[in-house]
């Protein structure tokens, strides 16, 4: 059933204009998809973590605990919202909002399948990077505003970590963009119809995944909310729905990182006989499984090792890779 067969569709087009309708529908789909996807990811993480650790994970709520995250969300909604007395009230209230906005906006440019992309922008990759660097701002806001010593240390660490790992992320993506000389996500996907870019750029892929893991503050780099050192980092003072928003944003960022990885290196929706969307979702969820798997096996890096690893190792290698790609493109 194509959208154009709706009864009085032409009057709407005439009145609102074709792409506005598409944009509104797209945004509605995203607003439904983001919470559901995060809820599903939280459930997947708890089940995978459970099975890695010889235990079944949530089982009581719904078959195999499917509704566990939904129940958690409802409970968090009904919790008392505490604002510490000496907290910076406005920033404390603003931080969870600022963290969720970029997470949702980045979905606009992700090409789920040839026809399913909310808005075809020629600045696709740039938009994702610029918005995803906003999350650091909200972490700093949350950490500073909650007037808690652990939160402040967590926030300061978050700023240094994200700044350090933004650069290798950009450099490794630049080497892909040089090859396709366009920021359009769909063009990057189109360019990979025959051979995926991971074959050409294995080094860039590794650097990309390490820095996205660090960017979303997960696993070996989760110094921001280090459970054993900083109690729970920047969201120590947050209760109820605000904490749920931080949780939601973390898993949405994880989904965006995995989908960017899929688009840049594993050829987006390209695949032998399944339709485009199925391939895209398979690739994304495989990458998310790898991120979860890494989290439950590796210990945590110390803060100065984290910094040295980024500045002294990742950035030089990323630059070298970029130069080699440029030279090879010139020569071939």
């Amino acid at each position: 059933m194509n959208i154009n067969q709706l009864p009085f569709i032409n009057e709407i087009y005439g009145f609102l204009g074709r792409d506005l309708v598409a944009a509104v529908i797209g945004i509605l789909i995203i607003l439904v998809f983001v919470p559901l996807n995060s809820a599903f990811l939280v459930w997947v993480e708890r089940k995978v973590a459970g099975h890695i650790q010889l235990r079944p994970g949530p089982m009581e709520v719904g078959p195999h605990g499917i509704l566990q995250t939904l129940v958690d969300a409802v409970k968090l909604m009904s919790k008392e919202m505490i604002t510490p007395k000496l907290a910076d009230k406005f920033l404390f209230w603003l931080a969870p909002i600022i963290i969720i906005i970029p997470a949702i906006v980045c979905f606009v440019v992700i090409p789920f399948s040839p026809i399913m992309q909310v808005r075809e922008m020629n600045v696709g990759i740039l938009l994702i990077f610029s918005f995803s660097s906003l999350t650091v701002l909200s972490i700093l806001m949350g950490g500073w505003a909650s007037n808690n010593k652990y939160a402040l240390i967590g926030a300061v660490r978050a700023v240094a970590q994200n700044v350090a790992y933004e650069i290798p992320l950009l450099l490794s993506t630049m080497s892909i963009i040089i090859m396709t000389n366009s920021f359009k996500m769909s063009e990057i996907t189109a360019a990979q119809s025959t051979v995926w870019f991971i074959v050409y750029q294995p080094v860039a892929a590794i650097i990309f995944f390490i820095s996205t893991t660090a960017e979303t503050n997960r696993a070996p780099f989760d110094l921001v909310e280090a459970e054993s050192e900083l109690v729970s980092g920047f969201h120590t003072e947050y209760t109820g729905m605000r904490f749920a928003l931080f949780f939601l944003a973390e898993y949405t960022n994880m989904f965006i990182a995995a989908s960017m990885g899929a688009v840049l290196f594993f050829g987006g929706w390209h695949g032998p006989f399944f339709p485009g969307l199925i391939w895209f979702v398979i690739k994304v969820y495989v990458l998310i499984f790898v991120i979860i798997w890494v989290r439950w096996t590796f210990p945590r890096l110390r803060f100065d090792q984290l910094m040295n690893f980024a500045w002294k190792f990742m950035i030089p290698v990323a630059m070298l890779n970029l130069m080699i790609t440029a030279v090879l493109l010139k020569v071939l």
Binding site: L54, I153, A226, S228, P299, R300, R302
Partner: protein, 375 residues
């Protein structure tokens, strides 16, 4: 370890950031309050504040008869409860000159070594969880459950045992216990391969623990550090070897010692110590004699007046009971020398100059049980 040049006091106080690793903190494993003065992320001074789970064991000892103090011993350090039981019974037996039958000594050694393995399993895996790897904690605990099952069959409880009596032990062990122990030991040996490549060869773990929180031998001597923390700094002091008691001289086992004295050394000493304990258990099971499990002892014992000090080796270090008796049925004074008390105080000397993350790693590697400090 960062060698912070000596910061003179004037420049400190405006940049000092006082952080309470408060009584309730995920990685203090109990209620230990570490007052850190930080300059940014680097620790300037650390002052452990203890006493949050002080329960007055020594005052209780002074108004109970000798037998009534037995349950208290395993609640002082609940991770090596059986070892403390054995120590208290042997101290009183030494004062009264009670002769313990051979089989009871062997049973005591087997159960104590099993208890030591279960305590090390928890100590190591909790330390690894502080470094950030959560999964080994559950694997270590899975093994620990097997030990608890074996010990529960014979002692009746999982954690706070009261199994030893003056002159022997309460229940006898049967063939099922011996086979269960042997099966457990083979299973644990197989598991050690997983632990080694999951933790010991993990590059992040090595970077986090190599050269961190070094306790030099001289400091260890000055602070009276004992146990794996001391053996990690190059001193081969183990009460079972240096001051043999019970039937330990009959078994062949070595004391694992490392020279570096850093967090990794203490971790490796504990892992090697578990293998030694398994060797002791196997030798004890092979040579288990038949016979009574308890000597003829009057219902209430009155040790002769005088005092006695009996030292033995728990999972955390050298424990000592200093008992003063005035010949009556009630002890005059019982002082329990617990290793974690001195092991924790060494932190004030070695922590300055480290990061917060190293503080947590060092605290975890010293494997402190808080009620043992607070008594």
């Amino acid at each position: 370890m960062l060698n912070i040049k000596t910061i003179d006091d004037t420049s400190i106080n405006e940049r000092v950031y006082q952080l309470n690793l408060g009584p309730q903190h995920p990685s203090t494993h109990g209620v230990l309050h570490l007052l850190l003065k930080l300059d940014g992320e680097v620790v300037i001074s650390a002052d452990p504040i203890v006493g949050y789970s002080h329960r007055g064991h020594e005052k209780m000892a002074e108004n109970r008869i000798w037998e009534q103090f037995l349950p208290n011993t395993s609640r002082i350090d609940y991770l090596s409860g059986l070892i403390y039981n054995q120590g208290y019974c042997m101290a009183v037996e030494k004062m009264c000159g009670i002769e313990v039958p051979e089989r009871a000594e062997y049973i005591r050694v087997i159960t104590s070594e099993l208890n030591r393995i279960s305590s090390h399993l928890l100590g190591i895996m909790a330390f690894v969880m502080d470094i950030g790897a959560f999964t080994p904690f559950l694997y270590g605990w899975d093994d620990r459950e097997h030990v608890l099952d074996i010990l529960e069959r014979v002692t009746g409880s999982r954690l706070t045992y009261c199994y030893n009596r003056f002159g022997g032990v309460r229940n006898d062990i049967d063939q099922e216990f011996c086979d269960g122990t042997r099966r457990f030991i083979d299973r644990l040996r197989g598991r050690f391969k997983d632990y080694h490549n999951l933790i010991t060869e993990n590059i992040i773990f090595i970077k986090r623990t190599r050269g961190v929180g070094i306790i030099p031998e001289e400091t260890a001597l000055e602070f009276g550090v004992t146990g794996p923390s001391l053996r990690g700094s190059g001193v081969a002091y183990d009460v079972r070897k240096n001051e043999p008691y019970s039937v330990y001289p009959g078994f062949k086992f070595e004391i694992p010692v490392r020279k570096e004295g850093d967090v990794m050394a203490r971790y490796q000493v504990r892992m090697a110590e578990m293998e030694q304990s398994m060797k002791i258990i196997e030798q004890a099971l092979d040579g288990l004699p038949q016979g009574p499990i308890r000597a003829r002892v009057p219902r209430f014992i009155d040790p002769p007046a005088g005092d006695c000090y009996f030292a033995f080796e728990s999972a955390r270090g050298a424990v000592g009971y200093y008992i003063v008796s005035d010949g009556t049925r009630i002890p005059y004074r019982i002082k329990v020398r617990t290793p974690s008390f001195s092991n924790l105080f060494v932190l004030t000397r070695i922590l300055p100059g480290n990061f917060i993350a190293d503080t947590i790693a060092t605290l975890g590697s010293i494997d402190v049980v808080v009620p043992e400090i607070d008594r």
